[in-house]
């Protein structure tokens, strides 16, 4: 199937687009893979998703003007992940609904603060627990967290990559961290 893609899809691509592709896409494969893996939950799926995204990027580069290459490619990866999950999973990634509501977080609840700074620090030492907690986040929160903490994107780039206003990015990130803290402070 990939060979077919290359023949039918990439065969018509101009040299200029190929060169833009070489400058933009291969340098960001590690970041793309990390995002796809955390969104799909599987390394094998992530490989398929990134390949699909790379092909989409190559086709788009025939005409696209790219200002922020990293965010641009990660946006394609993210969209490829969404389509891929919708096609291949019984439970597609749910991005809609409620995740941007800051009111649901109570990080300065006195009980919450006094509850367990030690518990948090102890849990934070347990890699497996931390990774499970990240995987348990709602997709929109996980995505913001991965782009920020694992891929090191600035807010502006995250907003670009997720096609989301910057204020929403900020509240998702805040909510992702607060939720992680709560999970880690709870019982193992």
């Amino acid at each position: 199937m990939r060979d077919e893609d290359e023949d039918n899809g990439a065969g018509m691509i101009s040299d200029a687009a190929r060169r833009r592709y070489q400058a933009i896409v291969p340098p960001h494969v590690d970041e793309a893979f990390a995002l796809a893996r955390w969104l799909s939950g599987s390394a094998a799926d992530a490989e398929d998703i990134v390949q699909e995204a790379a092909l989409r990027a190559l086709n788009a580069l025939e005409t696209a003007i790219v200002e922020r290459p990293r965010a641009w490619f990660l946006r394609i990866v993210r969209n490829a992940a969404l389509t891929w999950m919708a096609k291949n999973r019984s439970q597609p990634l749910a991005f809609a609904g409620g995740v941007d509501d800051l009111a649901a977080i109570e990080p300065f609840d006195p009980n919450c603060d006094q509850r367990s700074p030690e518990a948090l620090l102890i849990a934070a030492e347990d890699g497996e627990r931390v990774r499970r907690a990240i995987a348990a986040l709602a997709p929109a929160l996980r995505e913001a967290l991965v782009l920020r903490e694992i891929n090191g994107l600035a807010y502006r780039e995250i907003a670009d990559a997720t096609e989301t206003p910057i204020g929403t990015v900020m509240s998702r990130l805040a909510r992702a961290r607060a939720t992680l803290a709560k999970i880690l402070e709870g019982q193992p």
């Binding site: 060169r19 893979f33 934070a124 694992i150 891929n151 900020m170 961290r177 880690l184």
Partner: protein, 258 residues
């Protein structure tokens, strides 16, 4: 502002502080707040512990090599596997390639070596940045000393303007850790970069090897104890003609001090 709005606002600011996204004024404001407010400090510590845990336990791992290879291969022109040297072969058959044929021009489809990969990437980057050279000058007496102060080996900046390749400038490519002087010539709207390097970095063979890599054409050869690589986006046979002209000019400039 309601209490809950204030709380939300502070939470966002703490996160933004952690992410270095606060401007100086807001950062100062928040620092003052943190001084007086133990709860805010505890909140920041908590966020910071979470952030730190994520970074430590979910570090970004490299994508599998197979994926890197697949992504890179996607935009590789089929030229690399056959189409590229058809025009060249035709040109050779017709005896069009000036000089190159007599000097034994070989076409190779071997896997690219690191020097070729480095110089191709360098060429692509320079072209993409619209800055094919670091010093712009058509005067070889300007380009040559500029390169001499930046690269360990001297370079022969030959004048090929009368052959249709005006000198456009020079830059320094870096191969591994070795700075290598690079001359940039112009051919219509295209660039041709010629990088000179010690023989230890070169392929060693005196014959010119032509390869295609990522949509660019490369020709490598060695002359007088120096290795050369020419990279361009012009056709393989045009590049061969350029290389022939360049080698002829270098040969006749042989007496010039090195």
């Amino acid at each position: 502002m309601s209490d809950s709005d204030r709380r939300d606002d502070r939470l966002l600011r703490l996160n933004a502080a952690l992410d270095n996204e606060l401007d100086a004024t807001h950062r100062l404001e928040l620092d003052r707040e943190l001084e007086h407010d133990p709860q805010a400090r505890a909140g920041l510590n908590r966020l910071s512990a979470v952030s730190d845990a994520v970074r430590r336990h979910a570090p970004r791992e490299a994508a599998p090599a197979s994926l890197h290879a697949a992504v890179a291969a996607l935009a590789r022109p089929r030229q690399a596997t056959g189409r590229a040297y058809l025009p060249l072969a035709a040109a050779l058959a017709a005896g069009v390639v000036i000089g190159a044929a007599s000097q034994g021009l070989l076409v190779s489809s071997r896997a690219p070596d690191p020097v070729a990969a480095t110089l191709t990437a360098d060429f692509a980057r320079a072209e993409l940045a619209d800055r094919p050279y670091d010093i712009a000058s058509s005067d070889r007496h300007v380009v040559k000393p500029w390169l001499a102060t930046r690269a360990p080996i001297g370079v022969e900046a030959v004048d090929l303007a009368d052959k249709g390749y005006p000198l456009a400038g020079g830059r320094v490519a870096v191969i591994g850790a070795t700075p290598a002087p690079t001359l940039v010539y112009q051919r219509r709207e295209h660039w041709i970069a010629v990088t000179e390097m010690p023989l230890s970095l070169a392929s060693g063979a005196a014959e010119a090897h032509s390869t295609a890599l990522d949509g660019f054409h490369l020709i490598r050869w060695a002359d007088r104890e120096r290795g050369y690589v020419a990279v361009s986006d012009i056709d393989a046979d045009e590049l061969a003609a350029f290389v022939a002209a360049f080698r002829a000019a270098i040969g006749s400039a042989g007496g010039e001090a090195r």
